[in-house]
C-alpha cells in the first residue's frame, strides 16, 4: 500500500490521486452492485493524458495491482466496479473533443466526453452521432467500445469506431487504424493490415485503456422527420422494418413495445410511481387505445426525397396492417413518448430526462440483450414471452432494431423490479439465475448471440480456438492480468 501510494504520487499530482476512505467508498459500487457487495479499491487516480495512464499501468503491472478503468462512470451493469480492489483509473478529466472533421465525417474524442457534449458540438456543425438508449451523461467512447445499441445503425452499420489510441502495460501507447501510420490520420478503421481496432472493441478494459477514438459522424440533411407506425404484433413490424431498411427508405428504425412507450410518458413528470396500466398481468396485450408497439423511424434527406420515402413507408406499413400515427396526434396522445422520440430521432440529442427516468420507478435489470437474424427474432420473442409469463413479474417489455441492412436485429428484453430492494432480493437473485443460463440456451436453440458480455466465462469458452488465440494475445499484452480482472473475461 505504502509502495503504491509513493509510486502513484510520483507520477500524478496529489490532487489527482486519492487513498481517502471516502473516495474509495464512493467508487466501490454502482447500481448493478447487489446490496452489501461493494468492493473498495486501494486508490483512485484521475489521469489527464495517455502518458499518465501509461505510468499508472506500468506501476500497477510492476506491483501486480489490478486496475479498473472508468470512462465517465455512467453504468447499469457493474462494468466499472473494482471487484478485485486495486486502482480505479477515472478518465473523466480526459474530456476533450479534439477534432470534428467535417471533411472525412469523424470526431476524435477522449473517454471523458459525454453524449451531451458530443451531440451539442456536432449539432453546431450540422452533424449527429450514433445514439444509444443510454444516459446523455455517458461516454460515447466507452459505449461504442461495448458494441452500441445505436439507433442509427440500420442504414450505416452497427460500429461507429474508426481508429483508437490504446494504452497497454507492456506494449505502451498503440494507435490503430489509419492513426497507426500517422497520429494526424484518424479517418479509417483499417487499411492494408489487420483491424486492431476490433481487437479492443468489446474487450471491456481487459486488454488496454482506450484514451482516444475517432468515431463516425453523420451529416444532417435538409429535411429530418420522425415517422411513427403502430403495429399490433411483432411479425408485421419486423417485416416493415426489414423492407424499409433494405429499400433504403429510412436512416434508422426501432420498434418499442407499449410498456416501453408508456414509460416514456413518465419522462415528462417527476413521478416515481409506474403508470398503473403498465402493471397489468397480461403484458402481451396493451391497454385499450394503445398500439402493441410503435416503429419509430428517422427520415433524413432532401425534402422531396423524404416526402416520397415517407409516402412509400406508409404504404408498406398499411399493406402490413400498420397504422400511421401523425406527429401531431402522437404529440397530443403520447406527449412524453413523442418528446423522447423526436429528440432522439430528429434532433439527434438524448432527451432530458432520458431513459434513466424509468429507473426512478423501478430497479432496472439489464435483461436479455442478443442479436439474431430476422427469422430468429420472432422465435426469440415467443421464447421470451413464455419465459416471462412463467417467471417474471410485470412490467417487462422489449425493443427490436435492425442493424446493418437488416442483416441482424438487436433484441432487448427488459424487466423492471418494483418495490424496495431489500424485499426484492430473492426475486432479483432468481432473475440473475435465469439470465445465467439464458444466453447459452438462446444460442443453442435459436442462434442468438449475447450482445454484450455478461461476466459469463462459460460463454467465452464456447468460442474454441478463437478464445484460445485471444487468451494468448491477452498474455502478451497483460501477462500479470492486471487489466480489469473483475470482468472475468480472461
Amino acid at each position: 500500500m505504502e509502495t503504491l501510494f509513493k509510486a502513484l504520487c510520483s507520477v500524478l499530482p496529489p490532487e489527482r490521486v486519492s487513498f481517502s476512505d471516502v473516495d474509495l467508498a464512493a467508487y466501490s459500487a454502482d447500481s448493478a452492485t447487489p446490496p452489501g457487495a461493494s468492493a473498495c479499491p486501494l486508490a483512485v487516480a484521475l489521469p489527464q493524458s495517455p502518458e499518465e495512464v501509461l505510468h499508472i499501468l506500468q506501476i500497477a503491472d510492476r506491483l501486480r495491482v489490478p486496475v479498473t478503468p472508468l470512462a465517465r462512470g455512467s453504468n447499469i451493469a457493474g462494468l466499472a466496479v473494482p471487484i478485485q480492489g486495486g486502482v480505479v483509473i477515472d478518465l473523466r478529466l480526459m474530456n476533450r473533443i479534439i477534432e470534428i472533421n467535417e471533411d472525412s465525417a469523424y470526431a476524435l474524442v477522449e473517454p471523458g466526453v459525454t453524449f451531451h457534449e458530443l451531440s451539442r458540438a456536432l449539432s453546431e456543425k450540422g452533424f449527429f452521432c450514433h445514439l444509444p438508449t443510454a444516459s446523455g451523461g455517458s461516454s460515447p467512447l466507452a459505449n461504442y467500445l461495448m458494441r452500441p445499441s445505436g439507433n442509427y445503425s440500420a442504414r450505416w452499420d452497427p460500429d461507429p469506431l474508426l481508429s483508437l489510441e490504446v494504452v497497454t502495460p507492456r506494449a505502451g501507447i498503440i494507435r490503430t487504424g489509419s492513426a497507426a501510420f500517422d497520429s494526424r490520420l484518424w479517418r479509417a478503421r483499417y487499411h492494408c493490415f489487420p483491424d486492431l481496432t476490433g481487437l479492443f472493441a468489446c474487450s471491456y478494459g481487459t486488454l488496454g485503456i482506450v484514451t482516444k477514438a475517432s468515431v463516425k459522424i453523420f451529416k444532417r440533411c435538409e429535411e429530418e422527420r420522425l415517422l411513427l407506425i403502430g403495429f399490433e404484433s411483432l411479425p408485421p413490424a419486423l417485416e416493415y422494418m426489414e423492407r424499409i431498411i433494405r429499400g433504403n427508405l429510412v436512416e434508422s428504425v426501432t420498434f418499442w413495445t407499449w410498456g416501453w412507450n408508456l414509460f416514456h410518458e413518465m419522462m415528462l413528470s417527476k413521478q416515481s410511481q409506474m403508470p398503473q396500466e403498465i402493471l397489468k398481468p397480461d403484458q402481451k396485450s396493451p391497454p385499450e387505445g394503445v398500439p402493441f408497439g410503435i416503429a419509430s423511424a428517422r427520415l433524413n434527406g432532401y425534402k422531396e426525397v423524404v416526402e416520397a420515402q415517407q409516402e412509400v413507408c406508409i404504404k408498406i406499413a398499411r399493406e402490413l396492417g400498420g397504422e400511421y400515427l401523425e406527429n401531431d396526434l402522437a404529440k397530443e396522445h403520447f406527449p412524453g413518448c413523442y418528446n423522447y422520440l423526436h429528440s432522439y430521432f430528429v434532433k439527434g440529442i438524448l432527451p432530458k430526462p432520458g431513459e434513466e427516468s424509468q429507473i426512478r420507478a423501478g430497479l432496472h435489470l439489464p435483461g436479455c440483450l442478443v442479436s439474431a437474424g430476422p427469422s430468429q427474432i420472432l422465435e426469440i420473442e415467443k421464447y421470451m414471452w413464455e419465459l416471462a409469463k412463467r417467471e417474471f413479474e410485470p412490467p417487462y417489455f422489449y425493443r427490436v432494431l435492425p442493424y446493418s441492412h437488416a442483416r441482424e436485429f438487436f433484441f432487448a428484453f427488459v424487466v423492471y423490479v418494483r418495490g424496495d430492494i431489500a424485499d426484492q432480493l430473492p426475486y432479483i437473485r432468481k432473475l440473475r439465475g435465469i439470465y445465467g443460463s439464458l444466453y447459452s440456451e438462446l444460442l443453442k436453440k435459436l442462434g442468438a448471440v449475447m450482445f454484450r458480455y455478461r461476466k459469463d466465462p462459460g460463454f467465452f469458452a464456447l468460442t474454441g480456438n478463437y478464445g484460445q488465440l485471444l487468451r494468448r494475445i491477452k498474455q502478451l499484452v497483460d501477462p500479470n492480468n492486471i487489466m480489469n480482472p473483475g470482468m472475468l473475461l480472461f
Partner: protein
C-alpha cells in the same frame, strides 16, 4: 463499525441504489450546456464530489462499510444546498435531504464541526443570530423617520432576516421605503430570531421547533396576514420546513418580496417613475428559484422599470449556478465560497451588463466579495435596491 451505521429507510436505500452515475447532478443536461453546476464538484473533480458520489457514500454508510469521519464532514460541508443536483437528476429526489441526514449521522457520532461552523452555532445559541459582534439591536438600520411608518394594524410583517438586519442593511431600508411608497401598512420586530436554516445545515433538529414557534408567534401576534422576506432562505424555510417542524400550517402567507411585488404588477399598482439606462443581469438565488420555483416574478417586476435592459446568464433559472453563499459554505470554506462567486461573476461579465442583480442578501454579499477577489469589475445590487431607486 456496524453499530455506527447510517439509518436509511428501505425506500431511500432503494432510491440511492438506482443512481447510475450519469453525472447530471454535477454537469446538468443539454439545457445547461453540460457545464459544471455543482459547487461540490467545482471544488474537486472526483466522482465522490457529486451528489451521485455522496449517494454512494450514504449507501455504504448504511451498509456499515463507511465510518463517520472528518474527511466525510469536509466533503458534506462543501454542499451549499443549492439543489442543482435535484433539478437535474432524473432518478433520485431529495439529495440535499440525504446530505443533511449524513450530517446528522456525523453529529451523533461526535465528529466535530469545522471551526467556522462551531462559531456559527455558538453565536446562534447565544445571540439568536449566526454572527458575532454588534448583534444586540436587529433594528439598528431603521431610521427614526422609518420607525414612524410601523403600523399597529399591519397588512404585512417584514421578517428582515439576519443578513438583511446586520450585513446587507440597504436591502432592509429599501424594502421599508418600497412599502411606504406603495402605502402598504407593515410592522417588524427586534425580537425576531434567525429562521433556523443554519441548524438545518448543521444537521441539527431539536432546536428547530422552538425557533420556528417563536418566529411564527411573533408574526401571528402582529396581526399581519402576510410575512414578507427579502431573504429567500428565510422564506423557503418558512414555507417548506416550518410546517413540518411545527406539525401545522402557517397562520399567515409567507411571501418573498419578488412575488409580493409581482402581485402589484398584475394589479397595475407598481408604477416606476425613474428611468434607468442600466443593463441588468439577473442571478437566480438557489433558494428562490429551485427552492421555491420563483423565476418569472423578479424578471416581470424588473422588466417594468423604464429603460432597463435585461440580460440573462447562460446558466439561468433552473440551471442557475450557485454563488457559493449558501449552506454556511463561507463560514466553513471561505476560499471555496469566494472561488464560486468569482466563477459566477466571470459568467456575468461575459454578457457585459452594467449591473448584476440578485434577490438574496447572501448572494449579494458573496457575489460582491467574489467579484472583487476575481478582479471582475461589476456592480452588484439587490432587487429591492433597484426597485426602490426606480419607484
Amino acid at each position: 463499525m456496524s453499530e455506527n451505521r447510517l439509518h436509511l429507510s428501505k425506500t431511500l436505500y432503494t432510491a440511492i441504489h438506482k443512481c447510475i452515475r450519469c453525472g447530471q447532478c454535477a454537469y446538468g443536461t443539454q439545457e445547461a450546456g453540460y457545464q459544471p453546476i455543482c459547487p461540490i464538484h467545482m471544488a474537486r473533480p472526483f466522482f465522490t464530489n457529486t451528489a451521485g458520489g455522496i449517494m454512494q457514500l450514504a449507501r455504504v454508510a448504511h451498509e456499515g462499510k463507511l465510518a463517520p469521519s472528518k474527511s466525510l464532514r469536509d466533503l458534506l460541508y462543501l454542499c451549499t444546498g443549492c439543489e442543482a443536483c435535484e433539478a437535474n437528476c432524473s432518478v433520485i429526489t431529495g439529495q440535499v435531504g440525504i446530505i443533511n441526514m449524513l450530517k446528522k449521522w456525523l453529529n451523533t457520532n461526535s465528529v466535530p464541526y469545522l471551526k467556522g461552523h462551531q462559531s456559527v452555532l455558538n453565536n446562534l445559541l447565544k445571540n439568536k443570530v449566526p454572527y458575532a459582534g454588534r448583534v444586540e439591536n436587529r433594528l439598528e438600520w431603521l431610521t427614526a423617520e422609518m420607525k414612524k411608518e410601523i403600523s399597529s394594524s399591519p397588512h404585512v410583517f417584514y421578517f428582515v432576516g439576519c443578513a438583511s438586519s446586520f450585513k446587507e442593511t440597504e436591502m432592509a431600508v429599501s424594502l421599508a421605503n418600497i412599502l411606504k411608497k406603495l402605502d402598504v401598512p407593515f410592522s417588524l420586530s427586534g425580537d425576531e430570531w434567525c429562521c433556523g436554516a443554519p441548524f438545518n445545515y448543521l444537521g441539527l433538529g431539536k432546536e428547530c421547533k422552538d425557533w420556528a414557534s417563536h418566529n411564527v408567534e411573533l408574526i401571528e401576534n402582529s396581526g399581519a396576514s402576510i410575512a414578507l422576506f427579502t431573504c429567500p432562505t428565510c422564506s423557503m424555510i418558512f414555507k417548506k420546513n416550518y410546517p413540518s417542524w411545527l406539525g401545522r400550517g402557517l397562520p399567515f402567507k409567507a411571501m418573498h418580496v419578488t412575488e409580493f411585488l409581482d402581485s402589484f404588477v398584475g394589479e397595475g399598482r407598481l408604477k416606476f417613475t425613474h428611468k434607468t439606462e442600466k443593463s441588468v443581469i439577473y442571478h437566480d438565488p438557489c433558494h428562490l428559484g429551485r427552492g421555491q420555483n420563483i423565476y418569472d416574478a423578479p424578471r416581470r417586476v424588473l422588466s417594468q422599470i423604464p429603460g432597463l435592459e435585461m440580460k440573462e446568464f447562460a446558466l439561468n433559472r433552473e440551471n442557475s449556478f450557485c454563488c457559493g453563499g449558501g449552506g454556511l459554505l463561507p463560514a466553513g470554506f471561505p476560499r471555496v465560497a469566494d472561488q464560486l462567486a468569482g466563477h459566477r461573476s466571470v459568467q456575468a461579465s461575459e454578457k457585459k451588463p452594467s449591473l448584476m442583480v440578485s434577490s438574496c442578501p447572501g448572494c449579494k454579499e458573496n457575489l460582491k466579495l467574489g467579484a472583487k477577489r476575481a478582479k471582475i469589475r461589476i456592480k452588484v445590487k439587490d432587487f429591492t435596491e433597484l426597485v426602490n431607486e426606480s419607484l
